[in-house]
Structures are given as C-alpha cells and as structure tokens.
C-alpha cells in the first residue's frame, strides 16, 4: 500500500487493519522476559515487520528508504503500537529523536547508509550527551575530540547514556573548541560503539534495569565522514534534537500513559481508586494530549519548534508521575508487596516514572526556559 501525500485517515485505517491481522506475529515471543535485552529484541522485531510492510517507512524521506508523507503518520504509528502494548515508549523515542538530525546534519551518503538499518530494527542507537560534571549544563561538556590525519581522536567520558551497551552507534557531543568555548566549541559525531578505545560499562537504575552506561573514550578514532554538521556547530545539532524529542515520540508516550491508566481502572478492586484523583489524572492526560496534538501539527506544517515545547516536556513528566502515583496509592498491596508479574510491572513503572522530571532537561531547567524565553522575565540572579 503506497499512500500519496498526506492522508492520516487512510494511514490509520490501513495500519490498524495490518496490526490486527498480524497481532500474533507482532506480540512479544512467548516466554520473553521483561528484561531490557528482551524489550530491545521486541522493538526491533516490530520495526522490522512494520518496515517490511511499509508502515515504518511513512513520514521518512526517500533518501533513507522512506515513503515520504507527513510526520503525523509517525506519530500515529507510535500511538497504535502503544495502544496495543507492543513497544516500550522510551526506546521508541531513540530513532524518532536521533534519525532526523543524522538526516539533517550528516552527509547524504552517511544518512543513506546508517539510517535505514536503524529504522528497520537492525540497530539501536544511543545519545552521548551527559557527562559526570555535565548534567543540565550541557554547554560545559569536556569529552574532547582532536583533529588528526586519520580522523577525530576522542578522549573523555560520558554517563547516563541510555541503551549504550545495546546500541550499535552513538550520537556523541564532543569538545572541539577551547574549554571556555562553551556551546560554541562543540562538535557532534556519530560513533560506532565497537570503535577501538571505546569502553561501555552499564550500571543499574533504581528500578533494577541496566538501562544506562558510563562510556569511556581513550584515543578512540572517528572518521571525519562521521561529523554531523560543521565543526564547532554541535550545539545546533543538539538543539535540533529537541523538536523531535518533544513531538512524534511524545504522542506515543501519551498513548502509553492512557493504556496504563485504563489498566488501573479495569483491574483495581472496587473502592481502591479515588474518583476525584482519577478524574484529575485523566484531565492531565487529556491536557498533555491536547498540547502535544498542537505540537504534532506544527511539526507537520514545517514550523520551527522552540522553547514553547518545554510546556510539552513539563506536561509529559508531571502527567507520567501522576499516573503512577495514582497507581501506587490505589494499589499499595500490589505495588509495594506483591511479586506477581503484573505487580512487578507496576512497581518498575512507578520507580521509573521518578526519573521523568530529571531526564531530558530537568523540570527546573524547563521552568527556567519558560521563565526566560516565554515569560521574558530576564536573567536569573
């Protein structure tokens, strides 16, 4: 099925039918555990099947094997997969966020080489931004890349790099200017994770998952063909990730929260859930959705997305915590004490939701952006 141009209704009907027809093939393999590697296997399987059937290719340009069309189609694909509980929201974000900047900033031949395997589930990528001394203040990063005859020679450390040990490539921000050059002296590179001199050491989150890693670079050599954008213009690459981190993948995250709230409503015993609290959380899910819907259409219309998407991030993070706070308050016996699969899933999700106001620019950073850029309150003291 090849859609011409933008037709969300046609895409929706066709995709829904395909997902229904292939439900058993798309479902996680029997006996697959909830461990991270199993989830990556699942997401890659779904991507592969959806790529082969064409659905994964809509909304992406032809130069990377796409079939064109609006980014709204990608948003709906994510929603449809989340509503059927086929993929985890966090991992779906990776290609939605990283592939567009490689298309925009990489050479055409690099994009054509590396993006299709990512979209069709042959690869996972990670984002090497944060460092031990660089959390919210990205402009202070220190991981150094030096020009040599053979390419960039990278030395330094990254941390909190989600999925690094399960990834084939890493979008890395490096310091190429002087230490004082701040955001003006950063260069973005796409590095293969099997590069010699690169060591990845995963560690556990508090919800018991080896989700992120420390990544060490010790004279790792990266070809110049892997430079994204101009030298010292990596800040633009990082900033251009934002529209994607805050748009197509957020639509899936909203659908995911809706499915979890629905699960709570359909399984909680009589009297366990406060009606007033549920109504408020439902309204928050709606608000996040209404806000995100406007952003989806702005992205699809080619509008520039800027600081106003901090509102989307704030609504995502606060809504996510509200959903799982409600679950934990309503089902204390399960979330705190039970070890059944269902209870373990609630517990893991509740614990994971604590990070929602920390990653991707903390809640405080988002409020600072709103205050400075949207309310024009001037500089902070």
């Amino acid at each position: 099925m090849k859609l011409t141009g933008f037709d969300l209704a046609e895409f929706r009907a066709g995709l829904d039918a395909w997902l229904d027809e292939n439900a058993s093939e798309l479902a996680p393999a029997p006996g697959a555990d909830d461990a991270l590697a199993g989830e990556i296997t699942q997401i890659n399987k779904v991507k592969r099947l959806a790529w082969e059937a064409g659905w994964m290719r809509y909304g992406w340009p032809e130069q990377v094997g796409g079939l064109g069309g609006s980014t709204l189609l990608r948003g709906y694909l994510g929603e449809a997969l989340a509503m059927r509980d086929l993929v985890k929201p966090g991992f779906w974000t990776m290609h939605e966020m990283l592939a567009p900047v490689v298309i925009a900033y990489g050479s055409p031949s690099l994009a054509a080489e590396v993006v299709p395997p990512f979209l069709r589930g042959d690869e996972m990528w990670c984002q090497g931004f944060s460092e031990p001394s660089t959390g919210s203040n990205l402009g202070s990063l220190a991981c150094r890349a030096v020009r040599t005859d053979a390419g960039w020679r990278v030395t330094g450390q990254k941390v909190w790099t989600s999925l690094a040990h399960l990834s084939q490539r890493c979008l890395l921000l490096t310091r190429t200017g002087t230490p004082e050059s701040a955001h003006r002296g950063i260069t973005a590179l796409l590095v293969d994770t099997d590069t010699s001199g690169m060591t990845i050491r995963p560690f556990q989150t508090m919800h018991g998952v080896e989700e992120f890693s420390e990544v060490f670079f010790d004279d790792a050599l990266v070809p110049y063909s892997r430079t994204l954008g101009e030298e010292n213009d990596g800040w633009s690459v990082a900033m251009d990730l934002l529209p994607f981190e805050r748009s197509t993948s957020m639509w899936l995250r909203n659908a995911y929260l809706y499915t979890r709230l629905q699960r709570l409503v359909s399984t909680a015993p009589e009297g366990a859930v406060s009606a007033a609290a549920l109504g408020d959380v439902l309204a928050q899910v709606f608000a996040f959705r209404a806000q995100s819907r406007i952003t989806q259409y702005r992205l699809a219309a080619g509008e520039h997305l800027g600081p106003e998407t901090s509102v989307d991030k704030i609504l995502l993070s606060t809504t996510e915590q509200s959903v799982f706070d409600l679950a934990a308050e309503s089902l204390p016996g399960e979330v705190l004490f039970d070890d059944s699969d269902d209870a373990s899933k609630w517990r893991s999700e509740f614990l994971y939701s604590r990070a929602a106001t920390i990653y991707g620019g903390s809640l405080e950073i988002q409020r600072n952006i709103v205050a400075r850029r949207l309310l024009d309150l001037g500089a902070e003291s």
Binding site: A275, G279, F286, A287, A290, R367
Partner: protein, 307 residues
C-alpha cells in the same frame, strides 16, 4: 468568518470592551451584532468574547445566549434551571441582571418528555441580586414563588448547551488566568528587592512558569474542544481552566505581595471572579470527581482526542 474578518471582529470587540471597562458589555455586544456572529460562527465569536471578558474582568449576558436559556443553573452544577412537573413550572437558577427587562424570557426546563425551551413572563419570576464575593459580575437568583403554566415548548438539547457553556467559561477562565499571570509578571519585573528585580529569583520564576504551563494546557484543551468537539472535551477544558485560574490566582497573589492585597489593586477582582466562574456549570473539583466516577463505574476510560 475568514481569518481577516475574525481579526477585525476581535479588534473591534477589544476596542469597544476596553472603552467600556467596568460595566456590562451588553451595551457593546448588541450594536456589534455579536449574537449574529455567534449564530453564524461560534468558533470565531466565543473564544474572542469570553477570553476578553476574562482578561478585562468584564461581564455580559452572552453566556445566556450561548446556553440558549436566560436562566442558568444554580452554582455548583449543570442541571437545568427549571423543571416541569405536576404543579407546573418551577424555576430556580441564576441569571444576569440586565436580561430581565423585557416582558418575557426563554428558559430551559426539564420535563418527563425531555428538556424543553419555554417562554415565561418575567412578572412571574422573583429576581434577587446575588452579591456574594463578586458583586460586579451582576448575577441574580431567579425563582418562581409559585408554579407557573407556560405553553409547551420545543424540545431542547440541554447536554449540548452545557458543553457550549463549559467551553465558553473555559475561555473566560483562561483569559482571567492570563491576566493574573500578566499582572504578576509585570510586577515581578518592576519590583526591586535586595537590589534586584524579584523576577530574577528562581522561587518567583518557577511559580510564574507553573502558572504559564497550567494556562497553556487549559488553552490547548479549549482548542481541542473546538477542533474535535465532544462533551468530554468541553468538560475537561472547563476543569483545566478552573484549575489553572485557581493555581494562577494563588501564585499571582503571592508574587504581588502586599500590593496585591489592597482594595486599590485590581488583583482581587480577578480572584473573586475566577472563584465564581469555576462554580458555574461544575467546578473543577466536581467535574474531576464526575469524570473519575464514570470511568470507575464503567471500568472504561473515555476515548481521548484523536490525532
């Protein structure tokens, strides 16, 4: 209306309403043909007027026109303001004072055959001013001393009228929340303490940022309710707008400090207004509880907004 006509309509209305600040906007709306604009294109007429009313803390009887009933439900709920039973028609509701100058009014009543719109002689009604916390809103309580017997009226889609009212009130609350945020923002930038504008302190900035996010979310919900209309969308828009207004009032009051606590400062008029508006057609608290109860009874969340 075309986009340029909408802009012109909005600009004209703003100019007239600003000049008329303080009183009822009814005198402004009639010559402008707001009712015709409303019949013709509610999506153009409602957001513009009601956000302006919120922003300027102005009042009009336009809500009655949106509902299609001169008498509105009592505060706290959305039940029709009158009922027709054995003894006849009994009225108990609210209205805007200026709406009862003619010989008759139309109102919506529940009855065994559904909601009907009936015409009632104003002489049969007892009308008492409701001053309460917000006298300048111009609300009156309307009741019948004894049952009256109007002729049968046409059947009326009351739930649709409730949705329209909730959406209009959501716009008014959004307008008021924006106005309070703007008052607080300007004060924070101007007011110097400890040698710096208080807007430079993170405690102040984050309060205002939270107000901004809440009002933006409510505003996006009103947009959704126009683009993909549903009873749920209007209800949630009203709920979010009520929450945003209450949160925004609290943050604005705190940032305004002692100045915002004076009679002279305009802030308290907004505080009074949003507390009353939140109660009309269901408070945020009551609407949240209703939404939650329905979902728990059916064990099914309502369908949310499609892409």
């Amino acid at each position: 209306m075309q986009a340029n006509e909408r802009d012109l309509f909005a600009a004209t209305l703003r100019e007239a309403a600003t000049a008329h600040r303080g009183g009822s906007l009814d005198d402004v709306l009639a010559p402008m043909g707001w009712s015709d604009a409303y019949e013709d294109d509610p999506r153009a007429a409602v957001p513009v007027l009601f956000e302006l009313q919120g922003e300027l803390n102005a009042s009009s009887s336009a809500l009655a026109a949106v509902v299609g009933s001169t008498v509105l439900p009592l505060a706290g709920g959305s039940a029709a303001p009158a009922s027709i039973g054995g003894p006849g028609l009994v009225v108990r509701g609210l209205g805007f004072g200026g709406s009862f100058t003619g010989e008759t009014i139309d109102l919506v009543a529940s009855s065994s055959r559904g909601h009907q719109r009936v015409t009632v002689s104003t002489s049969a009604l007892t009308i008492r001013a409701v001053d309460g916390i917000d006298p300048s809103l111009g609300l009156v309580e309307v009741s019948t001393a004894s049952p009256v017997h109007p002729g049968a009226g046409p059947l009326f889609d009351w739930p649709a009228a409730v949705s329209s009212a909730q959406l209009a009130l959501a716009h008014q609350l959004v307008g008021a929340a924006r106005a309070m945020l703007s008052l607080a923002r300007d004060h924070a930038v101007d007011r110097v303490q400890g040698g710096r504008a208080i807007a430079s302190y993170q405690a102040v900035r984050h309060r205002l940022a939270d107000s901004y996010v809440a009002v933006q979310a409510a505003s996006s919900a009103t947009t959704a309710a126009w683009e993909v209309p549903s009873p749920l969308a209007s209800t949630v828009a009203k709920l979010l707008a009520g929450r945003a207004a209450r949160l925004g009032a609290g943050h604005a009051q705190q940032v305004l400090g002692a100045m915002g606590f004076t009679e002279e400062h305009v802030f308290h008029h907004y505080l009074r207004r949003v507390l009353v508006l939140d109660e009309l057609f269901g408070s945020a608290r009551a609407l949240a509880e209703d939404l939650g109860r329905q979902a728990l009874e059916t064990k099914q969340l309502p369908q949310l907004l499609p892409l």
